[in-house]
Symmetry: none
DNA sequence: GATGAATGAGATTTCATTCAT
DNA sequence: TATGAATGAAATCTCATTCAT
């Protein structure tokens, strides 16, 4: 795998497969319904209707409405964590690693905006509900990015005076806010903009984090 | 006012005053309850209990539970908008303007973490409920920041190839994510860290946005 | 008070008062509905309808459907326990004590058959639900009766070879089964039969428990 | 058969046979589940799980959950009715007949406490559900006992002023309450206590029912 | 202004029963 | 026979909102 070359491995997870599996059908329907109405505003029957299955079948496969969202979040977030770990293990520059991550997240949105909307809106910021439940899993991503930054500082590529955890949060936050912009229809979502957005985040944040020396190198 | 000099005008709004006004009592109680339990998980009676007033009084002052949150959000967000507009009108460098904004938001959190938690968790990301209701108000802030960036590009201080709206979102998102880090208890929240966080965001994002020329200048 | 003289203090508890108190209204309605349909077969809305109040008011006064039955049971059973304790403290023959108890229970049924039906059918035999919850309270009655029997044995009035706990259960069981007979409409429930039933239980059980000597005396 | 001599024909019914018959497996599992959780609190799947068979098989053999309990009750109660009829037809004293019945019921409990618990808790007192359904079958037992008492009165063995139906209920109720005592773990259930319980009921109730003349005889 | 009892629509969840295989 | 996925009616409980005092 050469993430860094911009091959941009398509971040397609389980949701990509067409399926007649009822469980999958329910999960996919739930994504649409959660995205359209929000987790709280929708009823379980909305999910069942959207999936074209009976009310009770949702409870045959999931213990509760919560568990449906838990499942969706974990499926996706774990794919991302795996991707980040894989990227991290490659012998490439930190800028390329961060570019791969930004690319992955943006492409995830491009590929399945509903799912990413649900994850961002209902989980990663939901400090009093799902965000709290999954905080350790969420944090894992921040920590992995933070680790990359520490390493880059040790290598003299990133400024040493930066607090890595803070930088990781800022980096991730910049990306998530771009997705929020698309979600709220505040930003144009034509294809070209997705690519420019990736570039912007990496250019901006990395540009700010890099030492003069490394900057010269990366620009060159 | 010289926002740029780091005097950091204390971002204290209405919530700063002690008050025996029952309406205020209810609003302040609502902040604590919303922050502690979340908007959906709390009941109107929880707010009344926390405020030490009777159940029905909440409905004497507010038409609905929603209106309580609407009020809290608008009170605070408008203070911020006013601040941003004021900053924008000052004849200072864009970096100073952004520094002032970052400072204002971070200090807002430092001064009243519960209120900022509520605003971020329940409003600015709540795409299917309050976020949608207040999107125009929220957007105002993004647009003002975006305007600063456009101007900076026209002045040759910021790279011209950056999409201003995207940059504004990334900048705001970086800050909001730091607040999210504190909210989730993922980042240390001793006093020094608030200051370093402000510096980090400005240094990083502006560092990345600035042209070589301006960078030389700002570093000097 | 001279319970032993057959004055048969009317076993009227709280349910005896007509009331406009909504809580009482609900409890009284619940008795009728539980008696008519059974606890499991009735819905909370049936209780509300029967009481002529809104659905939610039941939950304003009681935490759950269970709590309604708990309340009914405890109200009544505690009146009975108090009565038994009072009887026990009087300086009268054990036969008179047991007669008073039998009389109290039978009159309780005569006075409010629905309530006694509910208590017997839904609580005292409901080993897997309410019976289990209230077993200590129920047992109290058995123990008090058992204590009377022990004392009678010490006084040489009752046969010493009888196990007091078993005898107490048999005595109470005989009475409860008569009530069950009325509940199931297997026994005639004209007024005279209630009095004869009291006499029967006391005559039979005590007759069997007494020593020859005491029997001579009691017959005389 | 000489029931009266205390040979105590073992009251073993169908449940005594080990069986690989699935229908039997389900019935036996149902007894355990009903006894453990109560009829209402358990699900059909609990029965299937306990029996180690598939969910749907319960419905292959029984039309409904109710029918499972109906079957269990009728199987056992009919064995008892047959026993009582047989006893009744023997040329023995009424005291011996009642002793045989008490013995049979107590031994039934000793042999299969779960089944008797289910019958008592879920059927014989369940005035609004199964008790009502099976009232004629249940009543049969009371009537048979009542018939014995009438005959004893005609023979001058039992007091003539006693209402036979009431006496039959009291007798049966005394026994059932002893079982209830064991079910609720209020009475000791070592082997000796079962025997003493039989003796107690017969001694007590018959002792109280007999005329002086017969008493002299029975004592002798 | 202030109180809290009263209302009732609506949500989640359960689970007996059916049925295709 | 045997399986267990699929169905959907029905029940409990919640809680925003109203309103009489």
């Amino acid at each position: 795998m050469s993430v860094a070359r911009g091959d941009s491995r398509s971040p397609i997870g389980p949701r990509g497969k067409a399926s007649t599996d009822k469980r999958r059908l329910i999960l996919d329907a739930a994504v649409r319904v959660f995205a359209r109405q929000g987790f709280h505003a929708c009823r379980v029957s909305d999910i069942a209707d959207e999936a074209g299955v009976a009310y009770g079948l949702v409870y045959h496969y999931f213990a509760s409405k919560d568990e449906v969202l838990d499942t969706l979040f974990l499926e996706r977030w774990n794919v991302m964590l795996e991707f980040i770990r894989e990227v991290d293990s490659e012998p490439i520059a930190v800028r390329e690693k961060l570019r791969a991550i930004a690319s992955f997240i943006v492409d995830s949105y491009r590929h399945d905006p509903d799912l990413m909307k649900v994850i961002i809106v209902e989980v990663t910021r939901a400090a009093n509900s799902f965000g709290n439940t999954h905080i350790d899993t969420i944090r894992e991503a921040y920590d992995l990015i933070g680790g990359m930054i520490i390493k880059a500082q040790e290598d003299g590529v990133f400024k040493p005076e930066i607090e890595s955890r803070f930088a990781a949060m800022a980096f991730y936050g910049a990306i998530e806010q771009l997705l929020t912009g698309w979600i709220f229809d505040l930003l144009p979502d034509e294809d070209e903009y997705f690519e420019r957005a990736k570039w912007l985040v990496v250019e901006t944040v990395c540009g700010g984090l890099e030492t003069k020396a490394s900057e010269q190198a990366s620009v060159t």
